[in-house]
Symmetry: C2
Subunit: 490 residues, 2 copies
């Protein structure tokens, strides 16, 4: 058993994050494989829930899963000039296989636009083959220098959608549709509020003509890019000769999109909701919804309490909940409480002889507020109708996590209009989201980053952020059409 | 659209297999990545169904999914002598990453016993940490010389279970439990009958003390190893120092198991059931259970027919079936029929104006027998109660495929007692399963293989194959305790 010490957020936010992950047994650094991680069962179960939700949404919107090779011929990566420039420094390269040096080395896929482009060119012939809507659940590898579990690792798990369309407008619709799916999953399942926007040219995916993104705020006020959706234009179509015959019999290049989210989302969930007692999980992601801790002192109490605990567990499971009865012997209830709190179980039920008499259970929500005596508030739930009241508590908890995250974000978001205020906003301890005007040039973007470490997270889509109104760039004073979102980021 | 020509099995079985895969759009050779394949949406959907069934069974028996690194330090593979000897010739090796030569190269995992052994040694400390029951869904790579889609490819998808136990007996129970799960999935879902047995020392997994397997017969009479379950003894425990403190406070090495099935199972399904018209899928694996083909000549018929087709589809979907209404225009019903037959849809419903009048639909099962006029038999199903009759047809079809495969296997299985009969059995065109006595030595096993190309597929477990009775080795005449299973194999 690992020692149960979690560094408080206020002391060292980065260490707190590592401690929460270790104590909840979500993952660990691989150590022997540079920059890579092992996703442990509790962390993988969270990822499986994210996967299941996204996979359902992808399929409902007509996408089909497939599997393309892990290895990509190096020459493929070089066919799209910006793409190779972006990814070449991070490649892991296979040079030997089957006991021989390879004539042409292979890269382990950092992303699959190139190899999928190659197959699209074989599969697409006519406008009748379009749209082609493919998704792949896969591992990818980017040899990063500075890694952090879940947020940035050498190998990570993700999904990558790749689609081909006959018109640019249809591809653009797809880019937006998938961005909205990411937003919906973040809001409804992860309980992580996100801002949808467009990346600047500098922050765009290597090879895309436009990159849309969803950006979330972590508890330290930094931004985390939670997902991206790219309009690839005809760039990869031209690089890989992906053409179709249109309804007039003319050959045209297809319009492509790609979009992805990764195990980084697990990091986003951890950083959004957890506290100094450990992991906090929204019920829709929790591998265990309810833990039942039976409490008894004497052997003669045990049988009745255990029977009641098992009965409650069976009832809640019938309602589709995942329930753990912690019947381990030789471990005091308090030790069990702490362990399941660290692991982020949303609801704990305690049941002892007195509860049997009163036909009720004691319930404690993760993140319960303190009562008047400074102890975590507990509720008394009648056994009659327990399934309904537990379901209600979990739904409320899901909503509360989202609402709290929105409130925290809004409290740490400001609009500024002068360079001095802008610099000040990124100088104090707590990072912020800052809406400010920008003149639209890469030079200014770079100068601002060098001066403050803040980057442009996105140009907000309609309805996100403050109402669009023209103004003057905080750095140069030049004209600006709308405020953009600045933040320090992961 | 690919040309719809499928080489008959009788002409060229290997080409037939390739043709079925191409025509059903299940997968294709990657070409540009040696020995690897692309699994196309229709093939991947079959794999997803196999995954879902196995994953449920693994979880029901207490296993948890996790994710370990793709890359394995070369030194890890060398820690278990037999293991590295078995896998070294097939490794793909990463020697460069992030723009630099690596000090120690990494192998892309051919299997994960070594890296998982490393982490087990960190995670296991006490008997309370045991049993540790882990599964991983992953891609692995074995650089093979002769590849065949799904059956043997450079990269493939699989699951690998890895467990650690405090006693050898418990590990052996686990090995057998997982073998039985593979048998159950093969029988109940894939409709592929298998024989459970033990591998000879020569055919054992590199590093195991015992390998159990399930062996299936393909339509050409050859054997296909469908899954394996290994008793690793303490071999990897010793190589990776995986120790636990037992209840008496003594340090002991753990007892480990590993077990796996792969995308090879998709190949087993194709080869077991398909015919010269293309793919045949058992309903429990079919991505589409029912295709509805609306039939009309005049526009005024169209609306009513389409409405009925959509209504039937909605009803069947309510029953949990996957239904496709093929409303493509400009394609004749016959062309649609052939396409969905090639893709292995178990049941086709045809609905036209006359069916509307009689309130019935025409139904044709894949593999329908010929009627008296030599045309495939069709059934008339009343629309009233259609869901029930369709469900029944699909259940019967699932059972029929299994029964047919058992019959075919049994008809191609013989017991022989002389060397001449044994040689003859492997000389004629149709391969067979042959039960024969063997003296238990590796020399004889090798001599038999060299003379006939037949290998020992397994020593049958109790209840599999003919009743155990002693006899004399067909090759040497030496004593034998029981007949073993010989076959040519994939």
């Amino acid at each position: 058993m690992a020692e149960s010490k979690i560094t408080p957020r206020a002391d060292d936010y980065a260490q707190w994050y590592q401690d929460v992950i270790a104590q909840a047994e979500l993952a660990e650094a691989a150590g022997v494989v540079k920059g890579c991680m092992v996703i442990k069962p509790h962390g993988y179960a969270v990822w499986e829930k994210i996967q299941a939700d996204l996979d359902r949404r992808f399929k409902e919107t007509g996408h089909q899963n497939a599997c393309f090779p892990l290895l990509i011929p190096m020459s493929f990566l070089e066919k799209e000039a910006e793409h190779v420039e972006g990814f070449a420094p991070e490649l892991a390269v296979v040079t030997r296989a089957g006991g021989k040096e390879l004539e042409e080395p292979y890269a382990i896929r950092p992303t699959s636009e190139t190899i999928i482009g190659h197959f699209f060119s074989k599969w697409i012939d006519s406008h009748r083959d379009l749209p082609l809507l493919i998704n792949q659940w896969a591992n990818v590898m980017r040899w990063e220098l500075r890694t952090r579990i879940f947020l940035r690792t050498g190998e990570f798990l993700w999904q990558e959608g790749h689609t081909a369309h006959s018109t640019h407008a249809e591809a653009q619709e797809e880019v937006r549709r998938m961005l909205d799916i990411y937003r919906d999953t973040c809001h409804e399942v992860l309980a992580v509020p996100v801002i949808r926007g467009e990346k600047t040219a500098h922050e765009r995916f290597a090879g895309a003509v436009e990159t849309l993104c969803v950006e979330a705020m972590m508890q330290d006020g930094k931004a985390l890019q939670a997902g991206t959706s790219h309009d690839l234009g005809q760039n990869f179509g031209k690089a890989f000769d992906v053409m179709f015959q249109n309804e007039n019999g003319e050959r045209e290049y297809v319009w492509q999109t790609s979009w992805g989210v990764s195990t980084r989302l697990v990091g986003a969930v951890i950083m959004s909701h957890s506290d100094d007692d450990g992991l906090v999980l929204p019920p829709r992601l929790a591998p265990i919804h309810v833990v039942i801790v039976p409490i008894f002192r004497k052997d003669e109490e045990k049988a009745a309490v255990m029977e009641a605990a098992d009965k409650i567990a069976a009832e809640l499971r019938d309602d589709g909940l995942s329930v753990k009865v912690d019947d381990r012997e030789g471990l005091k209830p308090g030790a069990k409480y702490y362990e399941w709190e660290r692991k982020g179980v949303p609801l704990r039920l305690e049941i002892g002889p007195r509860d049997l008499e009163s036909q009720s259970v004691m319930a404690k929500m993760r993140l319960a507020e303190a009562d008047e005596r400074g102890r975590p508030q507990k509720l008394t739930l009648p056994m009659d109708g327990l399934g309904v009241s537990v379901g209600k508590l979990l739904d409320e908890f899901q909503q509360k996590l989202f609402d709290d995250a929105v409130t925290r974000r809004d409290e740490n978001t400001i609009s500024v209009d002068t360079w001095d205020d802008f610099v000040a906003a990124f100088s104090d301890g707590q990072s912020k989201f800052v809406w400010a005007h920008w003149d639209g040039t890469g030079e200014t973007e770079k100068a601002i980053k060098e001066a403050t470490k803040a980057t442009i997270r996105c140009l907000p889509l309609d309805g996100e952020g403050p109402a669009a109104e023209p103004g003057e760039c905080i750095k140069t004073g030049a004209a600006s059409a709308q405020r953009v979102l600045f933040a320090k980021n992961y």
